[in-house]
Symmetry: C2
Subunit: 141 residues, 2 copies
């Protein structure tokens, strides 16, 4: 049974803490968050399209196109035509992009990982492991 007042309380507290953590993340040294997300995504899936990236991140294709343009200008991402569909563009990391990802991990990811390791107790880390996929599901709503 879900208690509506419990969910209401969780909602308000969740919104406040999420917004604050994201501000803190943005303030931490590293690539802009949209760029960092693309670097991680390309590293994980190898090759994909702008539309897929936009859908996965929950932004408009126009917004993702701009992020990709920035990464391309930095030489971190490369485009290739999709051989089976002339409308699509296949994206992948360049060698410099892979190196940039290493640097991103060393900076922002490392900060967050340290915060999790040092400031959370085992029960909180276990709770986080359960909460994260739940949050992703909410984001997809």
């Amino acid at each position: 049974m879900s208690d509506p007042s419990e969910s209401a309380r969780l909602a308000v507290d969740l919104r406040q803490s999420l917004v604050r953590v994201v501000r803190r993340l943005r303030a931490t040294k590293g690539f802009p968050l949209p760029q960092a997300a693309v670097l991680h995504r390309l590293d994980r899936v190898g090759t994909t399209s702008i539309g897929e990236l936009a859908a996965h991140e929950g932004v408009r294709p126009q917004s993702m196109a701009q992020t990709i343009g920035e990464l391309e200008a930095l030489g971190l991402v490369q485009r290739a035509p999709d051989p089976t569909d002339g409308r699509r563009v296949l994206l992948s990391l360049t060698a410099a992009g892979a190196a940039a990802l290493v640097e991103e991990r060393r900076q922002r990811d490392d900060w967050l990982a340290s915060a999790i390791a040092e400031q959370l107790d085992p029960a909180e880390r276990a709770a986080l492991a359960i909460a994260i996929p739940a949050l992703s599901r909410i984001a997809d709503t």
Copy 2:
């Protein structure tokens, strides 16, 4: 003991899910997120200063001053001089601000609360209840 690789994995997954939920929150009808946060905060503490609000949200006083200016222009927040310190400004909700908060709750908070109630199972909600204060602590780092 905290396993470093566990924390590293949590960090990357956490960043991605948080950013996506915040984007989704921003896209949901209601006040801009900084304004909504102030409405909630003033409702909770009654009266406070710009500096306190900025510290609580983790933004610069200049940024908070702008948010307050917007809310004041909308007639949702009122200023009063601090009788004991001429530099400070005491902020509080107007009647219209309290009404606006009701509307905010009806819209964005209700969306999030519904998502929590309908899409999360009891174990996930319990995990969220533990994870939220942990996230707040990380934001304060």
